[in-house]
């Protein structure tokens, strides 16, 4: 099989949602599962980090971050001028695609393991790093492009952004907090401290990820309906943009001398679109954007595309373009 069987749980959720089944996963369970996934990924990464020298990560991080920012920078004008979307929507969607999806990353890791590719656990550092900058960039794009009554747009509009509040949401938003917090705890605990909590945070990971995918399928089903009315352009964007981003990822990985496994993961990170941190942040910071568009594209199209087609394709890219 080309994809890991756990993605079938997503299909089951999707089917349940589309068939208007009475299956409902309580909101409290959704919250708990997402807290668990973020913590577990952070912890795992922290434990891995404790085995490696940190210095090499510092240099590559800057490159990974800079290359990652290309995605919203490319996405915005395409959405705005090719797709003729309003500038708020273009900025919000660009931000979603510049940010990353924790679950897509997790499924990629599971697929690598199933196919016996090696990868480094510290890749999760890039996951944490990439989540927020694109969101800030999205807010900046939204403000620079805006023309409010009597207020000038352009760069001077940046002064109107509440930087303090944005910074707070960046660093103390739950996803960054749990990822970084998990990383630090894992780093401090090390392999020995991790062992007694591993039955929950490591062994149970894939099963709980499966349950989360079931839930994501249910949520995506409701998004697909809302999304249908918005035409073919956005569907096309939600499929082509990840492929473009993945290529940027592979090129960056090659430049940095990553292994094949790490390259596939970086491509997946770039290709994935956020649906935990980004929707919430954009809803507050760029309220003029229609969330049905951005969540519909990222969760209704890109997320399943990555699960079923994207990840295998990015692994193929890595195999072809990265020296083994």
């Amino acid at each position: 099989m080309v994809f890991d069987p756990i993605v079938l749980f997503f299909l089951l959720g999707l089917l349940a949602g589309l068939s208007k089944s009475d299956l409902k996963i309580p909101a409290a369970i959704y919250e708990a599962l997402s807290i668990y996934l973020l913590l577990a990924i952070g912890l795992k990464g922290g434990v891995e980090l404790s085995k490696y020298p940190l210095s090499q990560l510092l240099t590559s991080s800057a490159v990974v971050l800079a290359a990652g920012m290309l995605i919203p920078v490319i996405g915005y004008p395409v959405l705005r001028f090719v797709g003729r979307l309003g500038h708020y929507d273009a900025a919000s969607i660009a931000a979603h695609y510049g940010s990353v999806s924790v679950v897509t990353y997790s499924v990629a890791v599971a697929t690598l393991i199933e196919r016996q590719w090696t990868h480094d656990g510290y890749m999760v550092v890039y996951l944490a790093l990439l989540e927020m900058p694109a969101l800030i960039l999205g807010v900046v794009l939204a403000r620079v492009g805006e023309q409010r009554e009597g207020q000038p747009g352009g760069w001077s509009a940046l002064a109107r952004i509440q930087w303090g509040r944005l910074a707070h949401e960046v660093f103390f938003g739950k996803s960054i907090l749990l990822l970084i917090g998990g990383l630090l705890i894992g780093y401090v605990a090390g392999v020995k401290g991790y062992e007694p909590i591993a039955p929950v945070f490591k062994d149970a990971f894939k099963g709980l990820l499966a349950l989360f995918l079931l839930e994501m399928g249910l949520v995506a089903a409701s998004r697909i309906a809302a999304f249908r009315s918005y035409g073919a352009f956005l569907v096309g964007f939600a499929i082509v943009m990840p492929l473009v981003s993945a290529v940027i990822g592979i090129v960056t990985a090659r430049y940095l001398g990553f292994s094949q496994g790490n390259a596939a993961l970086l491509a997946t990170l770039y290709a994935s679109a956020s649906y935990i941190a980004a929707p919430a942040a954009m809803r507050i910071a760029v309220p003029q954007a229609n969330p049905a568009l951005s969540i519909g594209a990222s969760l209704g199209v890109t997320f399943p595309f990555n699960l079923f087609i994207g990840i295998p394709v990015y692994m193929g890219m890595a195999k072809t373009l990265i020296p083994g």
Partner: protein
């Protein structure tokens, strides 16, 4: 011993909760009650099964002038967010 008050009930997206409470703080409103709900309106079905599709109901007992000012303070949210604000008469018994 019963005092005539207004009950303002705000139905809105869950992400708005902190912003609405900030509005209360600005107006000096101390007491409020929040509960989770789901629903449907002009912004479509909000099924409540994840945070982005959840609604909250925020209730405030206050006097008439405060309720007017509150309504004004909430107007900016009305354009971009799912929001319904209603007012009714209540007696506060304690």
């Amino acid at each position: 011993m019963a005092k005539a008050f207004k009950l303002v009930t705000i139905f809105c997206e869950a992400v708005l909760e902190p912003l609405v409470i900030r509005e209360f703080d600005k107006l000096g409103i101390v007491g409020y009650t929040v509960s989770d709900c789901r629903g449907r309106g002009t912004h479509g079905v909000r099924s409540g099964n994840w945070r982005m599709s959840a609604n909250v109901r925020i209730e405030v007992m206050c006097d008439l002038p405060t309720s007017d000012r509150l309504m004004e303070g909430l107007t900016p949210f009305d354009r971009d967010y799912g929001l319904l604000v209603v007012r009714s008469d209540v007696e506060v018994l304690n």
